[in-house]
């Protein structure tokens, strides 16, 4: 296992390095001058040129690249052009909201979708199955912001049950933390419920057709035991994979939800950094996201051992 872990980590290094180089180069190719953005609308061309110089943007590309590499080597992602804060600190500030939202979303999604998907497979072709399929189509089709506006209007503005916007840190108390996070998590979970429920249904359906299910039934096991212990357990690997990918996607890409609910997370930071051509922040974020993907994938791979004892690393 340890050998496998080391091999996997070693294998990710070239991928992360390629990502780093590509991001660095792509940002320099993309039109847009951070200095012009920082200087403001009424700044003169001379003032913009002066700011470019101060930011080190007049240095040759290779020099800029090596300066950045040197910083990364000592674990420093540099300082944001735009926010004038260390990129590491910026990411740290924004990590809690995003991570909280992602995890709660996945918890809600899994709690709802796995039982639904399992039941739909069990009652294949019945009303539950058809309803779930209908819901899935809707869940995939309704844009997140539309759903968010509807939920805000109904549950926040009209009924007053939840706040319209904002985020509370765990340090403010678990109650406030959860209270502010429920609505965004429910909004965001709809698409994941649709996705995970479909995958669960398909996997369980496949498992239900296997010989060992017939054997289990022949042995007189209750249907719930057949479903949970035998069908669901054997269908777990695709589900876990989708959940893992979901977590990674949620951490990197919940811009719309973060914007509508005013959650100061990594998604919003990424958009702000791109719009401001804040090179150090974008580079830092992409590097962070790629490491996160690698880490989550690794966790997913390792979790296979739990669900399928035949797998050995």
């Amino acid at each position: 296992m340890l050998g496998y872990l080391l091999r996997r980590v070693a294998a990710t290094l070239p991928a992360v390095a390629v990502v780093a180089v590509l991001v660095f180069l792509l940002l320099r190719i993309t039109p847009g001058d951070p200095a012009a953005i920082l200087a403001g609308d009424a700044a003169s061309p001379e003032q913009i040129a002066r700011i470019r110089e101060n930011l080190g943007l007049n240095e040759p590309l290779l020099v800029q690249f090596f300066i950045w590499l040197k910083q990364i080597a000592i674990g420093d992602l540099g300082e944001s052009f735009y926010f004038k804060i260390r990129v590491v600190d910026l990411i740290a500030q924004r990590l809690e909201p995003t991570l909280s939202l992602a995890l709660l979303t996945i918890v809600v999604a899994v709690l709802v979708s796995v039982p639904l998907g399992t039941l739909a497979a069990w009652r294949f072709g019945g009303w539950l199955d058809r309803s779930l399929m209908g819901f899935s189509v809707m869940g995939f089709s309704v844009p997140v912001f539309v759903l968010a506006y509807i939920l805000i209007w109904l549950l926040s503005v009209k009924l007053g049950w939840f706040p319209v916007q904002g985020f509370k840190r765990l340090s403010d108390g678990f109650g406030p933390f959860l209270y502010h996070l429920i609505l965004p998590a429910v909004t965001l979970s709809v698409i994941y419920i649709a996705l995970i429920a479909r995958v669960t249904r398909a996997s369980v359906l496949e498992a239900l057709g296997e010989d060992y299910i017939r054997t289990a039934r022949a042995k007189g096991l209750r249907e719930s035991q057949v479903l949970v212990r035998h069908a669901l357990a054997n269908a777990a690997i695709p589900i876990v994979t989708v959940v893992g990918i979901g977590v990674a996607l949620l951490i990197g890409g919940v811009v719309v939800t973060e914007s509508v609910y005013a959650i100061p997370g990594l998604g919003r930071l990424t958009v702000d950094a791109v719009l401001a051509r804040d090179f150090p922040t974008i580079q830092g974020l992409i590097l962070f996201f790629s490491l996160l993907y690698v880490f989550v994938n690794l966790l997913v791979d390792l979790s296979y051992v739990v669900f399928d004892p035949r797998i050995r690393y």
Partner: protein, 572 residues
């Protein structure tokens, strides 16, 4: 903003908010049920009601721990944009300017009648030859760190501002030296009489000559300051500042307001709340309005035009229109064909019907007005003199002018920012009108940040340059021939993009800089405007106001339109 900190009046904090959530007590539950039934005629069936009631109870339970909190008066504001740069001299960004007004004070201010009034200055004297100006500071002025404001601080602050701001640079071109007379008196000695000293020192918009402690003001003007200490009505809570999340300001208890009533950026800067929180995370217009209606925020700096009508129908909030608005402007690049010829620019100008721009971009009749003046209608230099080419424009005239100009069909590259909703439709209208006049238009879509980078390029359009872009200016930034950047006609030395060149215009502007009587200035401004329309420096394409939304319990909001200002506000 606040993302509802526990001390906020917002969703989670003080008792009024708690009752807003319907969770304060038994008497609210029946109201809750009544609201529930009103809200959802379609939510029929016991199951739905029971499950939603369950959710409500869960929500109530979660809010309970936070209900009882300190009764600090907190003003929750949703600004129009994010605050990232905290140095209002280093950048011209309006958010940085507004931050500046929170924590810094100014020597002079501009009142709601656009007149310059003393602020930190108590008295001032001008020599007979108008070359020596002596100023005395008010007693009791104090920085947030407890140190008194001295004339040395003032001189250092002005020196830094004079290297960055266009008007500051213009004023400093007249300055011989600045001298300290005593701790609270200083003098500016000019090489020749300068006609806009007070206008410059009291200018309300970017870059405002804010006064900082000398040790901070001595920072290289091209480097951002690292410490944020002023002598203004609020102190900045640097430890709570999270760009993209929130900025927090506390009432500065030692601030000594002027006795005159607050007006524009002048007069009393008395503060009636303990804390102001800017919600930098809430940038979705619809969500911002919902938060305002629900009472989670107190002030929404910008109510989107498409939400204006529905916002005015909400009983819990008021929607105010600032007195002075903004101007839309389309700017020609004078360096390259076809707009290197004034005749061609005039043809474009003639085709630009302001009503078309305003209807497309704003759409709400009561929020816009056509105004041909380059200096904003209703301000001292605003007039219709010399504006015939545009105010009486019609397509036939534009077509004739274009024909006479010898336009050879060179495509006009118009840059369109797709992500800046406040101006995104202007280039479409401009392109369509110019096409009708006979121009060949190449409308190029890009994000705003690409546009601001590209407009700095002097290359020909085919090599990545441009011919035209449109933008918007707040009135104080364009209401004088000195600070209206589009009138700077020094060719490639101009301080703004487009690089117009016209010796006559520059001569008139030079005279304006030296004019010292109001009547003379007004006449010169009229001549400058006439000449600017003759050579078509740029095209003003209409004025509009940006409505502000606020809760009904908020009073005293300054809606002069000069800047976003948060003193003088009461929260009942």
């Amino acid at each position: 903003m606040l993302n509802n900190t526990n001390t906020d009046g917002g969703g989670f904090g003080a008792p009024p908010a708690a009752s807003d959530t319907g969770c304060a007590g038994g008497q609210n539950r029946s109201a809750q049920r009544s609201r529930l039934s009103q809200a959802g005629g379609w939510l029929k069936g016991k199951a739905a009601v029971v499950s939603m009631a369950g959710l409500a109870l869960a929500a109530c339970a979660l809010t309970l721990p936070a209900v009882v909190k300190a009764q600090e008066k907190v003003l929750n504001v949703v600004p129009h944009s994010n605050l990232a740069i905290l140095d209002p001299i280093w950048t011209t960004a309006y958010m940085s300017r507004n931050h500046g007004y929170m924590i810094y004070d100014t020597l002079f201010g501009t009142d709601a009648k656009n007149e310059v009034k003393p602020q930190m200055v108590e008295t001032w004297l001008v020599s007979a030859d108008r070359k020596v100006w002596e100023f005395k500071l008010r007693d009791g002025l104090e920085f947030h760190d407890g140190n008194p404001v001295t004339s040395e601080d003032v001189i250092a602050s002005l020196n830094r501002w004079g290297k960055r701001d266009a008007m500051g640079v213009a004023m400093y071109s007249f300055v011989d030296r600045l001298e300290t007379i005593s701790v609270n008196r200083f003098r500016i000695v000019f090489k020749e009489p300068c006609g806009f000293v007070l206008e410059a020192l009291g200018k309300p918009s970017s870059n405002v000559p804010f006064i900082m402690p000398k040790r901070i003001a001595d920072t290289d003007p091209f480097k951002q300051i690292a410490e944020h200490i002023g002598s203004g009505p609020y102190t900045f809570k640097a430890d709570e500042f999270k760009p993209g999340d929130k900025a927090v300001y506390l009432k500065f208890r030692n601030y000594k307001p002027r006795p005159e009533p607050a007006s524009g950026t002048a007069g009393s800067k008395e503060v009636f709340v303990d804390r102001v929180v800017w919600n930098l995370a809430l940038r979705d217009g619809q969500a911002g309005l919902s938060a305002l209606i629900k009472g989670e925020v107190d002030i929404l700096e910008q109510v989107a035009f498409d939400l204006y009508e529905s916002a005015t129908k909400e009983s819990a909030i008021s929607v105010l229109k600032p007195t002075i608005g903004l101007q839309y402007m389309c700017r020609f690049n004078h360096l390259h064909p076809p707009f290197n010829k004034p005749e061609v620019r005039r043809a474009a100008l003639a085709s630009f019907s302001q009503e078309a721009f305003l209807r497309a971009q704003v759409g709400v009749k009561e929020l816009y007005k056509p105004c041909p003046s380059m200096f904003t209608c209703g301000t001292p230099y605003g007039s219709a003199i010399g504006t015939d080419v545009q105010s009486k424009s019609n397509m036939k005239l534009a077509q004739e002018l274009l024909k006479k100009s010898g336009y050879d069909g060179t495509p006009v590259v118009v840059m369109k920012p797709t992500d800046l909703m406040s101006i995104t439709k202007l280039p479409d209208v401009a392109a369509q009108l110019m096409r009708q006049a006979g121009f060949k238009v190449d409308l190029q879509a890009m994000d705003w940040q690409t546009l601001v980078s590209r407009r700095a390029k002097k290359d020909a359009p085919a090599q990545g340059g441009w011919n035209m872009f449109c933008t918007a200016w707040v009135s104080p930034d364009i209401w004088s021939p000195i600070n209206n950047a589009a009138l700077d006609s020094r060719g490639e030395k101009s301080g703004w993009f487009g690089w117009g060149e016209d010796a006559k215009l520059e001569e008139l502007r030079a005279q304006f800089l030296r004019a010292t009587d109001d009547e003379g200035k007004k006449k010169l401004a009229e001549q400058i405007q006439s000449r600017a329309f003759e050579v078509a420096t740029h095209a003003p394409v209409g004025e509009f106001v940006q409505p502000v939304g606020l809760r009904k319990n908020i009073t005293g909001l300054n809606v002069s339109g000069l800047a976003n200002i948060y003193w003088g506000i009461r929260k009942d």
